[in-house]
Subunit: 285 residues, 6 copies
């Protein structure tokens, strides 16, 4: 059975810490280098729910995409919800390892998993990593559809193929417009509009899009926008990561049990559609 | 018929420029002080669609909540979409006046209109303006429901009473929890969580809520969150502002025709719900 | 007749926007890409006087050296004098295009025109642009006189050859010193003293020189300084620019009428010399 | 005969160091507290010329308005011109004391002396010092003329009453406009335009005015501007300061000999007017 | 037996978190609010040695003066020495609470304990806390000696009364000078020289003094400086804090066992005096 | 006899100013370029004591390692202790030249002299200067011992070989540990721990080490730390520098008398060891 330090070395080889953004907080957050690891759980969010799932599963290592302390903390007291996560992990001898922007840009990375879930053919990174001579690593992916779809059909495929969430998929632009090329980026994508426009794609699927960036993007050009739940766009990476670790485990004869969290940590729990004859002023345009 | 400078003086009395946030960009953006005004259009967004509506209506003055140039510009060339707005306004002798954070905190202001649209009884500002001795001005409103509702029922009321949008209302928290007190804030509200928690309300209705702030808010305490479309939470203020200007016009004998834009400038045009049996992993928790 | 976008493409080829300083604000400020252009006016300052001249002239495009909004604006309301300029331009279908620090460093640029007006032989840029392999572009010019002149004679030539202004030419240093080499830089030049000293010239002609920089420069070494009116040092570029556009127009068969503004927008309107026996304390040293 | 520390205490009472701007560098720059003082020289600039004058005069203390090291130095080596000033002072046992923005705002201060030289009746400070309950201290002065003058006549009075300089007086605005009220501020005044406009005066006399601030001020409103030589606007303060120290000396029985520098350290040494028929384009507007 | 939250409430009453400096990191760092507390250990440093001592002692709560994470951390992995401290604490159900600059300025606080250990009579805070109407709180203490001592005698008393360290006490200034008044400040004190000079004391005892601040302080005035080991100057506060908690425990009937760490965490382990006839150049001056 | 400018040229060749850190303040601080130099004194600190020594010696040039005004000054008034140094130097025609971080990194530099004094064999710079193709220049030195010593023995050698100071040598770590490799850096070295750890040496000798950096360094790994007096670690460079100037003088036939200051300007004047049975709590660990 491998020690934590050995498993971490393998994870670091998949997602090297030095490839994370300077503002990021990746790597091992909790855990003793010499503790033994037999069961691993992959999840998007390091929250009490996924930690409790890890405890229930008897996991020794929880690997998440989101950092626990992005902006640094001076306390892990259990009176804070993040401190309670640390206490639960240490008390149950569960290590926590984070792969965030280093996993976003990896090859394959978060947006490769997202593209795969949507049956999209990856062409190139949306924002290539200048340090990669082969131009495969980078943030987001520019993709082609095998067969053109309307925006509505692409949204329906996303709603069907991504983990179900209360939010579903929001669409901006003509639902009947044709889509042949699409850029995808897991997580918050409203800082990437310049790159998306430069890529000249028909549509852009990402998460956490807000009023002003979307309105201005639409005013710039008729690019269709699809907004899925942040968690749902990054959950596919958990399956990818688990599969990668499985393969490493087999190669090393570690006999690891690698699981993917079934807990939906997307915060939205319900959705109420606008009534078509809302008393205010009329149906959406 | 009043000159633009007289109408602006009246609008400034309702929403004094000095009460806007230091980062904001309120006041008259386009227009000649001496041009005559007979027809006014209120809208949320100063975009080509509402400007074209103003041209079609023969308006002389467009009053919007959102600024045209929040971060300052060195060009109004028509090759930029905002420049085209400026050219359309000037060529058609239409002035543009903005009331943004000075209207947010006004008494009555944007969140009063939002509370009114939802039949909520305003108790106090969520973030009182320290310069107001009477404590009525400020950002957001803390409200009470005449009769308790479940979170789902409150969401349904919002979906029904606010202008219809493709997004509808997203809910985080237990849909069946009871709501007696609710904080509301028009527009992007994810910087107000500390104030909302301090107010001790059961629910918070605002817009543009993203994954991390919502997840962390939910981890803090079981506060229910309702996310409506940014535009829909601020449209009710247009009706309020138009009514206020109507009343001023009568008082001055200006005989102004004051309209409220019917153009839905919320960018979301369609919504596709997650399939309950989405192939990924199962229904929302 | 060419469309504005075609003429702008030509102007951008002369003075590429990317060669402007990062703090600058060059390019098209007002105008519709498809509007037709037959008459163009060159001026230094985008002020009401030159805009009224453009209206009177029936110009379709005003090209100026100084930007209209160097520091960005959130309003173009006609209640502001710059807003009135924008309203006058748009109402009279006159576009505005700015070429500022990109014209300063161009080859030929503002200081070439200034050197030409003074019969000076350009040797090299005072501050070479590192991105120019041929070392011809850059700020200011180091020049040689065909025949040596005294400082007083050089000042007299400047007063005679540059457009007349109330200010005339101020001189610091020994008026009878001999000048063989001179650095010139149109506009405010008091940030260039280190470069001027390094060039080892006998004199430096520029504008907007103030007490402390001049006193310290004089204390450093006996470099003669000639201060002409800011506007007057940059007006020769208008003639150069107009000639360059004329030539382009001929080449394209555009048949453009290209004019140079006759309006003196130097703000100084009068000059009163010190009385030789001023009651205070005596004649200048 | 008083020691330096005693004379400095008296000067600090006139111009307390704590009333200088935070960016300023006032107080004693060179000198031994116990050295005896019998002869004092007042000057505007601490330059080699005024220091040599002090040596020739046998002065023990040089008091100047301008600081020697405004931005701090790490060397006083004589290879630098300011270092040579320090070496000359110390070798000749001459102390140096600076009263700059603390003298600007004093009551009486630099602008009182300037107003006095121009026969103007001081009404109030242009920028009152909030820490002065009596509202007499502050930057610049708002003045009234005993009898109205045209702008040209006021400029002629300034040229006649202020120490003669090669620059003379530059005027912006209608030379024939009538002046009843005028704001004056010794030294560089182009940061005070907002205050001057708020004061509603007919004219503003100061120094070091440059193209853009003057053009924009003139575009704002028809305020006449008079630009004298920086040194000339501050030299009257030397007479005021010398008189004040004389009076203190008498009171203490110090028998000080107090002189005012006759050295014109305004850097401009000659002026050449524009030829009325300058070959370029015509007389000034 | 009290829960941790109750003990923390008592400690917060002694050293309120809001009285810490804004850059500080005080309060509970590890621990579950509901865990029971019967045994408490006070120490200066939250390092592996004191944590091991707490484990050996069966403590439930470790209270330290120095924060564990002053600048915030994004990981508590046991591969880092601070992370190993967190893991040891949580695995052994030991809470960690920090009272740092809020204990420095408390009344009584760190410097009161230091003064007490040295038999000094506290007169007032060296840097009074403006928010304390009674003027008793603040950083450092100004003290009087009951009987004057020479600097050497005071140093000997400090060496004798403070916990023994390899460093002992360094002295700057005349060892035979007389001391009647002394300022003391536990921990690094080289930012307090201005306050110490203003207090006009004969000597200043603190820690972590470096060459340049000491040389410049000595050049300013003949103030004697005594430099003890950082840890030794703050260890007396552990005794004071333990006694205060004991008293609170008695009052609440908590029956707490409160201990003070015996582990010397001063890092210096040996000291070698300069040989009087060191081959370099001679005995100290 | 050489002029000051010639000697400075020679010193600049040894320690080029451009190789100093950007925050540093090296070069000639006082002196007239043409003054003659026959006698030179080297010292660490430009303080009154070494300046008085220079006056007593009849020196013409004082060369120090520490700058006089590191952060720039706006006054050299003799009422300040640094101003008194300037007055004494100028009155006695003594120049002052500083070689600080440019001497630290020179080859040979400050840490070479320190290593030499301790009989250590220099291997390479601790922090190589990237601009040195030969990799010999840089901050600090990594050294080897000819024969291994215990930490205590190395500390004893330092106490014996470096100029005697009241402080002596402080040691952190096991005094009996064996040392084969040691990094040395004259002056304050607590910013170099990362480099020292990366060099993998057994011990690090420097100065001005404080509690927190030393405690954390020790927690990182068992690296032994030796803290000598700041002045003592830099005094050996004076001998090195004097020898280098002697050699230059012979080469130029200048016949310079070059001295090394005997004044100990280390501020510590006495040391009192902790009593082994200090009443507080026991002997050091």
């Amino acid at each position: 059975m491998p020690r934590l330090s050995e498993v971490i070395t393998a994870l670091d080889a998949l997602w090297p810490a030095e490839r994370a953004e300077s503002w990021d907080a990746v790597g091992t957050v909790v855990g003793e280098p010499d503790q033994e690891v037999s069961r691993v759980l992959f999840a998007v969010d390091p929250v009490q729910e996924t930690v409790d799932e890890a405890v229930g599963l008897g996991a020794d290592l929880l690997v998440t995409h989101h950092p626990l302390y992005l902006r640094g903390t001076t306390t892990v007291a259990a009176s804070t919800f993040k401190g309670r996560v640390v206490h639960t992990l240490i008390k149950n001898d569960i290590a926590l390892h984070v792969a965030h922007t280093n996993a976003d840009t990896a090859d394959p990375g978060v947006s490769d998993a997202l593209a795969g879930a949507l049956d999209l053919n990856v062409v190139r990174p949306l924002v290539p990593d200048p340090s990669d001579p082969e131009g495969r690593r980078g943030l987001g992916r520019v993709c082609e559809l095998t067969h053109p779809l309307t925006v509505r059909e692409l949204a329906a495929r996303a709603a069907e193929r991504l983990p179900a969430t209360a939010q579903g998929i929001r669409v901006a632009g003509d639902p009947e417009a044709t889509v042949r090329t699409v850029a995808v980026s897991g997580g918050s994508g409203d800082s990437l509009f310049d790159h998306v426009r430069a890529a000249g794609v028909d549509a852009f699927l990402t998460a956490d899009l807000r009023h002003h960036p979307v309105s201005e993007a639409r005013a710039h050009n008729p690019l269709a926008l699809l907004d899925a739940a942040h968690w749902a766009t990054e959950w596919p990476w958990c399956e990818l990561g688990a599969a990668q670790l499985d393969e490493i485990s087999d190669r090393h004869g570690w006999d690891l049990r690698v699981h993917v969290s079934k807990t939906v940590t997307d915060p939205w729990t319900a959705h109420v559609a606008s009534a078509p004859t809302s008393s205010a002023m009329g149906a959406p345009n």
